[in-house]
């Protein structure tokens, strides 16, 4: 050790072998002068990173407390809502993270042994894996974003677990009530939009007479000529319950109900007639008619009910004509509550008609969905917790990527030697804790029984 104490840094002499105060000759130039030696510096850094990891555990524990608390009180939310998460994606991401943890630990070994090329390869693999993880996370988030399976008030309860089907019933979905305007004197429904499953497509019969199960709705192009995204969907039994918010149509004689493109429905618009803000159930088939049209139809003159589909574009709604493939089964008329003449339309002669089996659900998933029923109250809380936990974890992954890019840069520059590899070791420890947290998040969020 050099005895020269020339630095004037207020330290006792730790033996500086060069003019820059960067450790002994032959030692990595990154060994700081205020450490005894490489080991001293490494140990200090390692202690620091372990303190940081302890803090990370506490940091995440707050979210785990929230998770446990809600799960204890609302197990039904968890057992329902986890169906929105795809185990496949979660499992792949777990494997990806574990593999990246392996390469990170391998990178440490390579750095310790001074294997530069291997170190670079391991760091690069870790970065690629981390990016893959975020990519898969993006797919999951994007899907939920599209389906409105989101946190807090952005959660739309009118969705179902597979994401493919619509629920839209009860569960506080606005616009799911079928309020039919009924003319008591005539004993007929007068105006409005009906969900198609409630309406007989036979022009000889008026109003709500049969239960039509829509098996398929196809729509190719919207009014603007553009493809309508996601409009062709299988419709299951779920959708056949009361659905459509009915808006009265006033004067406008004889015209088949017509939904104009409009913005958020306002009461004032009702006076304009012509407009049926059958809002909400996006992609939900509906039928609009009015009294005069129904009368004509009864005499074989009126047009058939117009079937349409509502497509939401942001705040706007558009109706598109669609091709509807429906089978109907007979059913006694369900008289609207205000109807005192229900019997008139409930004669057996009129009611009997082409009996067809309802659209059969085929896949296991659909049966499962059927059994689940509508989401329990406050299901959105699960998603709030899901997004908070995976979001915070995702931010950690992002930070990890940046740190590893920095490591890669330094590794290529040749900074790391067998006596200076602290940054690799410490970053790897951070990366392992990120993996560790995901190891718990995966079963807790995706694998709920």
């Amino acid at each position: 050790m050099s005895a020269s104490d020339h630095d004037g840094h207020g330290h006792d002499d730790h033996g500086h072998g060069d003019d820059h105060g960067h450790g002994h000759a032959g030692q990595s130039r990154f060994i700081q002068h205020h450490y005894d030696d490489a080991k001293h510096q490494f140990d200090s850094g390692k202690f620091g990173i372990w303190l940081f990891l302890a803090q990370e555990v506490l940091f995440f524990s707050a979210l785990f407390v929230a998770y446990v608390l809600y799960r204890v009180h609302h197990p039904e939310i968890y057992s329902y809502a986890h169906k929105w998460l795809d185990v496949k994606y979660g499992a792949i991401n777990t494997a990806v993270l574990i593999f990246s943890s392996l390469t990170a630990a391998w990178a440490v070994r390579a750095a310790q042994l001074g294997q530069k090329k291997l170190l670079i390869a391991c760091l690069a693999t870790t970065i690629v894996c981390a990016c893959t993880f975020l990519g898969i996370k993006y797919i999951e988030y994007h899907h939920k974003w599209k389906e409105q399976i989101l946190f807090g008030k952005f959660f739309d309860p009118c969705v179902s677990p597979g994401g493919e089907e619509l629920i839209t019933r009860k569960n506080k979905c606005e616009g799911t009530k079928s309020t039919v305007q009924f003319d008591e004197a005539a004993g007929k429904p007068t105006a409005g939009c009906f969900e198609i499953s409630k309406l007989d497509l036979d022009p000889d019969r008026v109003g709500i007479q049969a239960d039509c199960q829509v098996s398929e709705v196809k729509i190719s192009k919207g009014a603007d000529g553009k493809e309508v995204e996601g409009a062709s969907r299988p419709i299951t039994n779920r959708c056949k319950d009361e659905l459509v918010e009915l808006l009265e149509k006033t004067e406008s004689g004889g015209k088949v109900g017509h939904v104009a493109t409009h913005e958020t429905p306002k009461p004032a618009e009702e006076a304009q007639g012509q407009q049926f803000p059958c809002w909400r159930p996006s992609f939900q088939p509906f039928v609009c008619l009015d009294a005069t049209d129904a009368d004509k139809r009864l005499h074989g003159q009126g047009s058939k009910p117009t079937a349409g589909i509502l497509v939401e574009y942001g705040d706007e709604l558009e109706r598109h004509d669609v091709k509807i493939n429906a089978t109907c089964k007979e059913r006694p008329v369900t008289p609207p509550p205000s109807d005192v003449h229900a019997d008139k339309t409930n004669t057996p002669e009129e009611g009997v008609k082409a009996v067809q089996p309802l659209h059969e659900l085929t896949t296991h998933e659909e049966h499962e969905l059927e059994a689940l029923g509508p989401p329990p109250e406050h299901t959105g809380m699960f998603l709030t917790i899901y997004f908070a936990m995976t979001g915070l974890h995702g931010v950690h992954v992002l930070v990890g990527i940046l740190v590893f890019i920095w490591l890669l840069f330094r590794a290529i520059r040749g900074d790391f030697t067998s006596d200076y590899f602290g940054p690799v070791d410490f970053s790897a420890l951070y990366w392992h804790i990120v993996d560790l947290i995901w190891i718990f998040l995966f079963p807790l969020l995706y694998l709920i029984h």
């Binding site: 030696d37 490489a38 080991k39 490494f42 140990d43 390692k46 202690f47 372990w50 303190l51 990891l53 302890a54 803090q55 555990v57 506490l58 995440f60 524990s61 707050a62 785990f64 407390v65 446990v68 608390l69 809600y70 204890v72 009180h73 609302h74 197990p75 185990v87 499992a91 777990t94 494997a95 574990i98 593999f99 943890s101 392996l102 990170a104 630990a105 391998w106 440490v108 070994r109 310790q112 042994l113 809380m381 067998s418 006596d419 590899f421 070791d425 790897a428 420890l429 392992h432 804790i433 993996d435 560790l436 190891i439 718990f440 995966f442 079963p443 807790l444 694998l447 709920i448 029984h449």
Partner: protein, 127 residues
């Protein structure tokens, strides 16, 4: 400084422990296997609580493997273990204490403004 030789599982090149390739690969493989196992375990219906317990046991096993071998804690200073385990203890205290009095406020867990919870019974400070 110790020798630069690294032999067997306890290789130490003077500054820190060097994990052997065997350890790393074995740990990684076991972790992947346990991931598969925990996914498969969900398919079997043991009842909700047992399924949760199985999943948690597997998760804790995986976490232990990561900490001991990937994070070198097995070969590291005891003090680092103390630091880390302390954090885990604190975290479990948070969860435990939160669960202790859950029956006291479960109506307010999810606040519904249209149906606020009943006022608490008993003495309340006045003035």
């Amino acid at each position: 400084m110790a020798s630069a030789e690294h032999h067997d599982d306890h290789a130490d090149h003077g500054i820190a422990h060097v994990a052997t390739m065997k350890t790393l690969v074995a740990t990684g493989t076991t972790l992947l296997f346990l991931t598969l196992l925990t996914v498969l375990a969900t398919r079997v219906d043991f009842g909700a609580n047992i399924n949760l317990a199985v999943a948690m046991v597997i998760a804790v096993t995986k976490a232990t493997l990561v900490v001991l071998f990937f994070m070198h804690l097995r070969y590291d200073r005891l003090f680092h273990t103390v630091v880390f385990v302390s954090a885990l203890c604190a975290a479990s205290l948070f969860v435990g204490f939160t669960l202790m009095d859950t029956s006291q406020y479960q109506h307010t867990n999810i606040w519904d403004p249209s149906a606020p919870p009943p006022a608490p019974v008993g003495w309340r400070p006045t003035g």
